[in-house]
Every structure is written in structure tokens, then in C-alpha cells.
């Protein structure tokens, strides 16, 4: 039986970003074992429907063009790669202050005619590479279509200009 839930756009967006940011929340044990990586990947994958179709940016400098992912197995590979190659993940949803409203979460939504909900929001993607700790920021946008049970069926992450981040304060703040 399909469980229908009341879909809250802000909650869906925040949940997606929170689970993504938690992907680096695992560690290597003293004997070199990866502890917790499967759990954080599983946690992220709970959001996706089995027949999800996604489009994500290239994995690294040795790829050009969007990466199409068809099915949850392929999405899991992508999530797993993110978890293993990035640290200090910090995706931020764009907020806006206007008149008396402060820090309003800018999540746009639309009920889909075939059921479910479409949401989109701007993100600033912050992350460091696990291999050399170089840090990058990329502005971008996320487009999600959820089924009526809240699972993501279509998903697109667009990131634009990739900038390397340097600490001009020399760590003395």
C-alpha cells in the first residue's frame, strides 16, 4: 500500500540538504576500516524512489558534460562517491531578507498535475576534497520531483562556476 504523506516543500529541501551534508559524517578506524559510510549513504538513499532519474555535474576534472543516472543503483554510486571523496560538506539553501521577513528560505514549489510535488531552490555548494583538503564553492540549483509518498523520482543538480576557496585570514579569526 502506498503511503501518502503531506509534502512540505521546505521540509523536503532541508531534509535533502541535511542528508547530503551528513555524507562526510563517517571516519576511518585506527585499523583503517571505514566506519559509518554505508549508514550515511543509506540515509541519503532513503529519499529516492527505485526508478529515480537524475542528472548531476561531472565527478571531477576528468569528465565533461552532465552525468545521467538512471535508477537508484546508479544514484547510490554517485552518493557513495560523494561520501568518499568529499569532506566538510556544506550545501546551503539560499535565503532572502526583505521588509520585515528575515532569512526566508527560498524554496519554490508546485503541485504536479500527475501527483506529487515539484520543488526547486538555489544552493551554494561548499566542500573540500578528501584527498588534498582543497576547498571549493559552487553556486547552483536543485530541481526535485517527488512522488506522492515523498520519494524523489526526478532530480537535477546544476552547479555553475567552480571557485577554489582560500582563507584570507590565515586561520587567525
Amino acid at each position: 500500500m502506498t503511503l501518502f504523506v503531506v509534502l512540505n516543500p521546505n521540509q523536503l529541501a532541508v531534509d535533502w540538504v541535511d542528508r547530503l551534508n551528513a555524507l562526510d559524517d563517517w571516519h576511518l578506524s585506527v585499523d583503517g576500516k571505514e566506519v559509518g559510510v554505508d549508514q550515511v549513504v543509506d540515509h541519503m538513499m532513503e529519499l529516492f524512489a527505485p526508478d529515480v532519474v537524475a542528472e548531476v555535474p561531472p565527478h571531477d576534472e576528468e569528465q565533461i558534460g552532465p552525468v545521467m543516472l538512471v535508477g537508484s543503483a546508479q544514484v547510490r554510486k554517485w552518493v557513495d562517491k560523494l561520501a568518499r571523496s568529499n569532506v566538510q560538506l556544506n550545501y546551503i539553501i539560499k535565503r532572502q531578507t526583505e521588509k520585515e521577513f528575515e532569512g526566508e528560505l527560498m524554496v519554490y514549489s508546485k503541485p504536479l498535475p500527475w501527483g506529487g510535488l515539484g520543488i526547486s531552490f538555489q544552493v551554494i555548494a561548499g566542500y573540500s576534497l578528501r584527498k588534498d583538503r582543497r576547498r571549493f564553492m559552487e553556486p547552483g540549483a536543485v530541481f526535485i520531483q517527488c512522488r506522492e509518498d515523498g520519494k524523489i523520482q526526478r532530480f537535477r543538480l546544476l552547479l555553475t562556476e567552480k571557485d577554489e576557496v582560500i582563507d584570507i585570514y590565515g586561520g587567525q579569526r
Binding site: I64, G65, P66
Partner: protein, 271 residues
């Protein structure tokens, strides 16, 4: 002036000239000592495999997902290998049929090559028969990555094998669409000296086909998916035109049931 001084002067004079004289594009590459007859040595190194450019229709989402099987492009390293200079001909295949008792292509009248078709690229052979031929010849089918590196002939990140810009214009080799398989060597060689990589017959590769393979493919000597339903077929054939599907582009991927014998599918071997 003694003789050795004269020779030395001659060498000194000739060396700078030789260094400045680049081999013309498509010229015969120098054979190494281990190079098998009628094969071309493809050097080790990296190349971009797949489509590195967007089509305007990508942005419109009007293209079926299956047509995006050439993306993302990946920077792939391949070890050096040899590839047949020409597609396998009817005459080559007849020797295999005679030596092994394999079945001849069904279009050969009474199981013999039609007169004058000896140099025509063989077709109506399925993937298993092509594989068996290569094994009999002490070779193998090329991987899809090897095939794509070879077709580019050193023109990395280009759309077409025969022109540097992305607009082929009127310069499409005329023989590509002559309406039937042609004798091998009908088209000019590419930068590696390989003939007929685009045009004539399409070619079997060793890899299984998976439209989503490029997303996570290995970056060194990829061997294709472990299993699949179809085998990858590469290179535009005589039925293909530039068309909006871009079948004549270097990165265009096709596939076929390995059991199928097709009028437009032949092969060449690698080593």
C-alpha cells in the same frame, strides 16, 4: 676534407630540416619492429572518450535519454595497441571459412565470394563469428575505447574524423553513403593511417553496450560492462548520413544483438 667530416656536416645540415618536416596528416606511420603486417600501432596515452560538446537540444530536454549515451566524456588512458589498417575483407574471411569450416556469410552465392568482391569489407557476420575470426588470426576485437581512440586519429575532442571544425559542410567523404559496402581503403586514412573507420561498414567491438556506462567507467583501459544484452557497434556505415542523430560522429554509439548478422556490420581486429 676527409670523408667522416663530410658525413658529419651532411648530418648536421639535414637534421634541422628533418625536425621541421612534419609528416603530412594521414600519412603512413612508421612501423615499429614488432608491428604485425597491415596493422597500425596506436600509441599509449590519454584521450577524451565521448561527446565533449553540448548540442543545443540538450538544454531543451527534447533528446531521449538513450541519445545521451555518449555523455559524460571521460579522460581515458589506454595502453598502446595495434589495430587493423583495414576492415576484414571477404577474401580474409574466406580463408577463415576454409580453414575452420565456419559458415560463410549468407549473401555469398553458393558460399563463395561474388566475383570482384574480394576486397569488399565482409558483412553479415555476427559478433561470435567476428570474435572467432580474430582469435583464429591471433588477434581480438577492439574494445569500444580502443575503437574510439583509433577513429579520432589524434584529433582529440573533435566531432568528426576527417575535419577539425565541428561543421562537416560539404567535406563529408563522398564514399560514405554509396549505398553498399565498398572495397576496403575506399576512404582516405585518418591521422593514424586507418582506413574506413567512418563509413563503409559499422564495426563490432568487444564490449557489451550499456547506455549508462560512461557515468562511472574506469579511467584506465576500460573493458566495457561485465554483461549486457547487446554488443557495442561503432563507426557510421553506408546507410548512415550526417543526420541529426550524428551517426558519423566519432563518439556516436550504436549496438546490436550479438547473434545478428547485418548488411551494414563488419569488423576489424586489434592486438
Amino acid at each position: 676534407m676527409n670523408v667522416s667530416f663530410a658525413i658529419l656536416c651532411g648530418i648536421c645540415f639535414a637534421l634541422p630540416i628533418a625536425a621541421q618536416t612534419a609528416a603530412p596528416e594521414g600519412a603512413e606511420r612508421k612501423r615499429d619492429s614488432a608491428q604485425p603486417q597491415e596493422m597500425v600501432s596506436i600509441p599509449a596515452g590519454k584521450f577524451w572518450m565521448g561527446r565533449t560538446n553540448s548540442f543545443w537540444r540538450d538544454a531543451l530536454d527534447t533528446e531521449p535519454r538513450a541519445k545521451r549515451d555518449d555523455r559524460p566524456a571521460n579522460l581515458i588512458h589506454l595502453d598502446s595497441f595495434y589495430l587493423d589498417k583495414y576492415e576484414v575483407t571477404n577474401a580474409d574471411y574466406a580463408r577463415f571459412v576454409e580453414a575452420t569450416g565456419a559458415r560463410p556469410p549468407w549473401h555469398w552465392p553458393q558460399g563463395k565470394i561474388a566475383k570482384g568482391d574480394e576486397r569488399v569489407a565482409v558483412y553479415n557476420v555476427n559478433w561470435f563469428e567476428a570474435t572467432a575470426f580474430c582469435k583464429w588470426a591471433g588477434k581480438r576485437l577492439p574494445t569500444e575505447a580502443e575503437w574510439e581512440k583509433a577513429v579520432r586519429g589524434g584529433r582529440d575532442r573533435k566531432v568528426y574524423a576527417w575535419v577539425d571544425d565541428n561543421d562537416p559542410g560539404e567535406r563529408v567523404p563522398a564514399a560514405i553513403t554509396r549505398g553498399k559496402a565498398m572495397p576496403v581503403g575506399s576512404f582516405p586514412p585518418n591521422g593514424y593511417g586507418l582506413h574506413d573507420m567512418i563509413g563503409n561498414v559499422m564495426e563490432w567491438t568487444n564490449d557489451w553496450y550499456d547506455m549508462n556506462y560512461y557515468a562511472f567507467m574506469p579511467k584506465k583501459n576500460p573493458q566495457g560492462p561485465e554483461t549486457g544484452l547487446y554488443k557495442s557497434v561503432r563507426g557510421g556505415g553506408w546507410t548512415d548520413t550526417l543526420g541529426e542523430d550524428g551517426q558519423l560522429a566519432n563518439f556516436y554509439r550504436n549496438f546490436s544483438d550479438p547473434e545478428l548478422r547485418g548488411l551494414t556490420i563488419g569488423f576489424r581486429c586489434a592486438k
